[in-house]
Subunit: 306 residues, 2 copies
């Protein structure tokens, strides 16, 4: 049996949703009942978004997680996904990748319903894409980036910087604290929190490119200014990098955090799980105050795209 | 302005559907009204599914067309699509690709509603993915591969082999007949025909990997045997390659045809546009008769995957 045939057999064993037609058709067929569908597509390139030596099961997990994080930020319940998979001729890698993907989509209720597998020229980096579909009840607002208002408070749903530190540790060959490497390789999407707060937010998105750059994007889309006054760090991060202004700047520009970034009215008691990091103001632009003092913005605020 | 920023500006200029949220959010939000959604995802790899020297506007057109062909085979009306795009650092290529993609999706009513753009390591081949969404009214059957029955007639919606001959001509540096190169680079999905016949078919799919292999797939999924007795050739194909048994075998195994493959009851008058090519029988397997004589099947029936 060829590698591709083995892969297809594994993929078929992963599907149960009738929308998938057992992956024996060229399409998935999804019945709808008047809900709103939330669709997102994220692609990960070997050597760019993951390291060639990352364990393949973590690459599979992460591909699902980064897409699920986008659904989380819209308060959407996961529904189905379509996988675009490049075969690089390493059957063990493919099998482990699918194990990791399967664990993530199984845990969060995202059903594999379709996709495509394609060959690659020899030596070409893998390019792995997932299109994920979530549901929001009809009539329920879907939070965007653009609803924040002057006076709103800005929150995140967890500390930032862990994944960036984990990636740096891998480049340097450092193994501890393992929590940071785990944050880079096996992020957990904040789906339950996203669904529970979607109706009270003015704006919501996930932090994928860095707290500073993503906060500026939300402010721009909302025609506000935003001031960040706190960069929440995890205990392992603070132990490894300290909590100096430099360490906090590194955490706020690292990306790959997959925490929610949430704008709430100032008079709204924040739900459990949200950490205040700043506020929106009249005007435009991003400013940063740490320990009560204005901090000059770094030249690079995060990953520039999108 | 960076190449990526220019690309995003072009992409934003292409969108008008409110589901796209102006591509300023991380997701698309698609309202539904009880219809069935048909979802398909096809990925094209540079050097595998298209030639590095193919004009980029034809690559953009073709990426849309191959996905639209899958919607056509389900009788679905095109709705929205999400693009997964790799940036290889050639702004002119990117712009021309988007022009071609835009022409195809504009012509067939497929709205760009989201996606992702990612960087590539230097020298890596482009990997271009599209997830396309179509609609079928609630309750209307969506034809699959598996409904053909013994006695059914098999039809295609056009000649086969043109695209394969066009690809071979490009490899050989032959420029005429230009129609064959055009068939390879700029296929036209048979959407109107697919929608008009979906309710009368027992089974329908598109021919993407070759008439023989795709007919065998339909027969297998339907637990029938299939006999092919005709390989319809275009006039330019017959002029270029002749119509010998060998020429017809080449046409039936070439792939990239994007015509519809349709099983209809024997007593059903075929609608205009369908060409009879064979019939389903009790049993299993594929057989081929040309000019009234059994023909030994070639070792390679088409492109093996899926």
């Amino acid at each position: 049996m060829s590698g591709e045939a083995a892969l297809l057999r594994r993929l078929r064993a992963m599907v149960s949703d009738p929308a998938a037609r057992d992956l024996m058709d060229d399409v998935a067929v999804l019945p709808t009942m008047g809900q709103q569908l939330v669709l997102t597509s994220d692609t990960m390139v070997e050597g760019v978004h993951f390291r060639p030596d990352d364990p393949p099961e973590t690459v599979g997990w992460k591909l699902a997680a980064v897409n699920l994080s986008d659904l989380a930020a819209k308060g959407a319940a996961p529904n189905g996904c379509l996988l675009s998979y490049t075969l690089a001729g390493d059957d063990a890698w493919d099998a482990a990748f699918l194990d990791g993907l399967g664990r993530a989509i199984g845990r969060f209720g995202l059903h594999l319903i379709g996709g495509d597998t394609v060959g690659l020229p020899a030596g070409a980096p893998r390019v792995l894409g997932l299109t994920a579909i979530g549901e929001v009840p009809a009539g329920q607002p879907v939070p965007g980036r653009s609803g924040a208002r002057p006076g709103d408070r800005l929150y995140v749903s967890g500390p930032v910087g862990d994944a960036g530190a984990g990636l740096a540790m891998l480049a340097e060959g450092v193994a501890e604290p393992a929590e940071l490497i785990r944050a880079y390789r096996v992020p957990v999407p904040h789906l339950t929190l996203g669904q529970s707060i979607a109706l009270m937010t003015h704006a919501m998105m996930d932090v994928s490119d860095g707290l500073l750059i993503d906060a500026r994007r939300m402010a721009r889309a909302s025609a506000c200014a935003v001031e960040i006054d706190t960069v929440p760090l995890s205990e392992p991060y603070a132990r490894y990098r300290g909590s100096s202004v430099e360490a906090r700047l590194a955490a706020a520009t690292a990306g790959d955090d997959y925490v929610l970034l949430v704008a709430l009215p100032a008079d709204r008691e924040p739900p459990h799980g949200l950490i205040p990091v700043g506020r929106f103001k009249e005007g435009e632009g991003l400013s940063l105050r740490l320990d009560g003092k204005a901090v000059h913005l770094p030249e690079r605020l995060g990953f520039e795209h999108g």
